[in-house]
Symmetry: C2
Subunit: 117 residues, 2 copies
DNA sequence: CTAACGTACAACCACATGGTTGTAGGAGAA
DNA sequence: TTCTCCTACAACCATGTGGTTGTACGTTAG
């Protein structure tokens, strides 16, 4: 099931990157305000290195990017990638909505296997 | 970042379940047409037990459910859960879209740190 | 009843993940 | 320069993941 302009591997890495509360929070945080890796690290009850790894996972999924500012690495969202990801999510939702629509249609027309589901 | 009516743990399991091409394909497949676990297994180059595990992951995330029909277990999408998941995805998209809107606003008004991003 | 089918589950393996600590290097600050 | 801060990265550990095979059990078909 290839959806939109993202490969299956892209989808894999995006969903995997999103499958962790800390990483979702990092995304939300840098969307609100760009922060350095160490500034980000201070918000979480784990080591700097651990946060660094989470950032790397998000970076591999192209959901965020880093920009150097002096000795700091400023983490910021990758807007283009985020839009692509959003459209990927949209596409799945679309399939589901259509199916929901189709089911209502089927329930209205078809007579076998009704009731349950 | 709590979004909608799903807990962080719910989001974890949903995104994790979606982070595998085989599992995404299973969802797409049962949305199109309900199938037994062994029928599903025949579509993939792996053992029945492996597919069974993928189904279990999707089931834990409440994206699908099973219904017994004779000696078969029919896998079908859990529409309510799929809608909740879609809304969760929507919510993330919303945050991103708003941020995108805000950025255009900022670029139009603000004058420091323009150019990049 | 018996045989075949669909499922469930346990044991096992290789590998990735999420965390730790420690070491090292580059850039600013003093 | 020298010290300090931020970052990068390696090594290590425990646990989880995705796959395998094998065994057991309920259900349907002959």
């Amino acid at each position: 099931m290839v959806v939109g302009e993202l490969s299956e591997a892209d989808a894999d890495s995006i969903f995997h990157a999103l499958a962790d509360a800390t990483r979702r929070d990092i995304i939300a945080r840098v969307i609100r305000k760009e922060e350095s890796v160490s500034a980000l690290a201070q918000h979480y009850p784990m080591s700097f290195a651990a946060v660094q790894k989470h950032v790397a996972v998000l970076e591999r999924a192209s959901l965020i990017a880093k920009r150097r500012r002096g000795r700091e690495q400023i983490v910021h969202p990758d807007m283009a990638a985020l839009r692509r990801a959003a459209r990927l999510l949209d596409a799945y939702e679309e399939v589901w909505r259509h199916r929901v629509a189709r089911i209502e249609q089927i329930l209205a027309e078809d007579q076998e296997g009704k009731a349950e589901l």
